[in-house]
Structures are given as C-alpha cells and as structure tokens.
C-alpha cells in the first residue's frame, strides 16, 4: 500500500466504485448545469437565424445532442455488457443497467424533437426514412434490454441475457450513423464530420458542441447516481453495505 500508483482495478469492486461515484457525480452535474446554461444562451441569443429555416432550426441544439447521446450510450452500454460477459465482473453489468434508461430517454427525445422539426420543415411528423426507422429500432432495443433485464429475477443472469441483446443490437448503431449516406433519406446528411469543414456557422457549431458536452456530463452524472442505487440493492447482503447504512 506504499505505492502511489493508481490501481484501476480497485474501482472494479462495487464497494470502491460506490464511493468514487458518490464523490464524482456532483462535479459532473455542476458541469452539466453550467454548460447547459452557456449552450442555451448561445442557442437563443448568439447563434444567427438560419437562412433557410429561420428560427425553426434552433431545434438542432437539443435534437443533435439527444440523438448523438442515444447512439453513444448504446455503444458504451454494449461495451460494459461485453466486458461483463467476457470477464464476469459484477460492476460491468451494473454500469450497463445504469446507462440503459438514460439511453432510452435520449432515443425518445431524438424521435420527438425530430418529429417537431420534421413537421414544419418536411410537412410530416414522421416518415419511414432509413434514419428515422433505425433510430426507432434503437429505442426498441433499449426498451427490449430494460424489459429483458426486469423479467429475470437473478441479477447475474439478467446481466448475461441483457449483454447478449446489447451486443447483438450494437450493429444498429453504424446503420443509424451511415443511413444518410447509404440510402436516399429525407433526413439531411451530417452537419459536422471529421473529414471536412462543418456546413454551418461557427456560432451554431459551437452552441451545438457545447450542448453535446453538456448532455455528456448530464449522462455521466445520472448514470453514476443510478449505479449507486443499483450497487446498494445488489450488494445488500454484504457487510460494507450494512456499515454504509449505519
């Protein structure tokens, strides 16, 4: 115990991670709140009016972050689930379970804000376009994961079954991402990509990126809080939980 090196595996134990998560989540929550305040300010007062869509385009500042998070969270969830399946670590399955509800909410928000954007711009709340349909499938995958886990009483078996579903479903994420290139979609292509200059005003881009980071911080904060409840519930018969409750 004399070494000062960080023992990452230490935090693979639910007991240690419970404490770490408790110390970390307020910071992520504070960052999320601060970045959202800045992001909202840019969204409404700094970013210019769009030449084609007028003020209606401002939906982008919640639609893009929600959609990106819905996909990223799924990948992270599948990563934890896969890790749990491969190494049989308890915490991995708890992390996957902690992320799924938030991912489902973002998939829902992506579809709702998309409908609210589609109606004035396309004239339809919904079209069976490849982008929209694959995002809907993502929402169903989240709901399937949650339903499957809650239908199995033994948490370790629920983790395993959920992990298989999460890993199979991850194939849908690149389909969503590339759908606008692979098929002729009504949904527009990516506004921001790594390989070319973004096709939007820089203040719009900054507003969007700040909102994306704010949603990340929000997600990390709520996942940490949720995983703490999950850890307590699953480790209820251990000595450390009993001591922690005193």
């Amino acid at each position: 115990m004399t070494t000062r090196a960080i023992h990452w595996f230490k935090f693979a134990s639910p007991q240690n991670f419970y404490g770490l998560a408790g110390r970390l989540w307020p910071w992520f929550a504070a960052l999320a709140a601060a970045l959202m305040a800045v992001g909202l300010w840019i969204s409404f007062f700094v970013a210019p009016t769009d030449a084609q869509q007028g003020q209606g385009y401002r939906i982008i500042f919640v639609h893009v972050p929600a959609s990106q998070m819905s996909m990223f969270i799924y990948v992270v969830m599948a990563f934890w689930a896969g890790l749990g399946l491969a190494f049989n670590t308890r915490l991995s399955g708890m992390m996957a379970s902690a992320l799924a509800p938030t991912g489902a909410l973002f998939a829902f928000l992506s579809l709702i804000t998309g409908a609210l954007w589609g109606k004035p711009m396309w004239g339809a709340w919904w079209v069976w376009d490849a982008r929209l349909t694959s995002e809907l499938i993502l929402l169903f995958l989240y709901l399937g994961f949650l339903a499957l886990q809650s239908s199995i009483d033994d948490p370790r078996r629920a983790d395993k079954a959920g992990a298989v579903l999460a890993l199979v479903g991850v194939v849908n994420v690149p389909i969503i991402y590339f759908s606008v290139q692979w098929w002729n979609t009504l949904h527009q292509g990516a506004s921001v990509s790594l390989t070319r200059a973004p096709s939007m005003a820089s203040t719009m881009l900054w507003g969007m990126l700040i909102m994306v980071v704010a949603f990340w911080m929000y997600t990390i904060a709520v996942a940490l809080v949720r995983v703490r409840s999950i850890i307590l519930e699953r480790e209820r018969h251990t000595e450390w939980v009993k001591h922690a409750l005193e």
Binding site: F44, Q55, H243
Partner: protein, 59 residues
C-alpha cells in the same frame, strides 16, 4: 441579438410550438429523470434500512 422584443422571442419566427415544444420536452424529461433517480435512491435506502432493522440490526 436578433430579438427586438420578448414577444418576438417567444414567437420564434412562427416556429414557437416546434422550438419551445422540443426544448420543453427535453427539459421535462431530464427533470423527471432526476426526480425519479432521487426517489429511487430514497426507496433503496429505506428498504435496506428496514431489512437491516428486521434482522435485529447491527451489533
């Protein structure tokens, strides 16, 4: 600043329903999630304390 009045701001160039609807639903969903999380934590703590007490409590 592109708004000449508060009314113009709230009208969102005619897209009020869509813009405010999107931001409103997002804010509502996040608020509900935070509320549910705090209630989940309170419930888990209450249940575990009850369980502990019924076992005779810690020595």
């Amino acid at each position: 600043m592109h708004w000449n009045s508060a009314a113009e701001f709230f009208a969102m160039g005619g897209y009020a329903l869509y813009v405010w609807g999107s931001f409103g639903i997002t804010a509502a969903v996040m608020a509900i999630e935070v509320l549910l999380l705090s209630r989940q934590r309170a419930r888990v703590l209450r249940n575990l304390r009850d369980e502990l007490r019924s076992e005779g409590g810690p020595t």
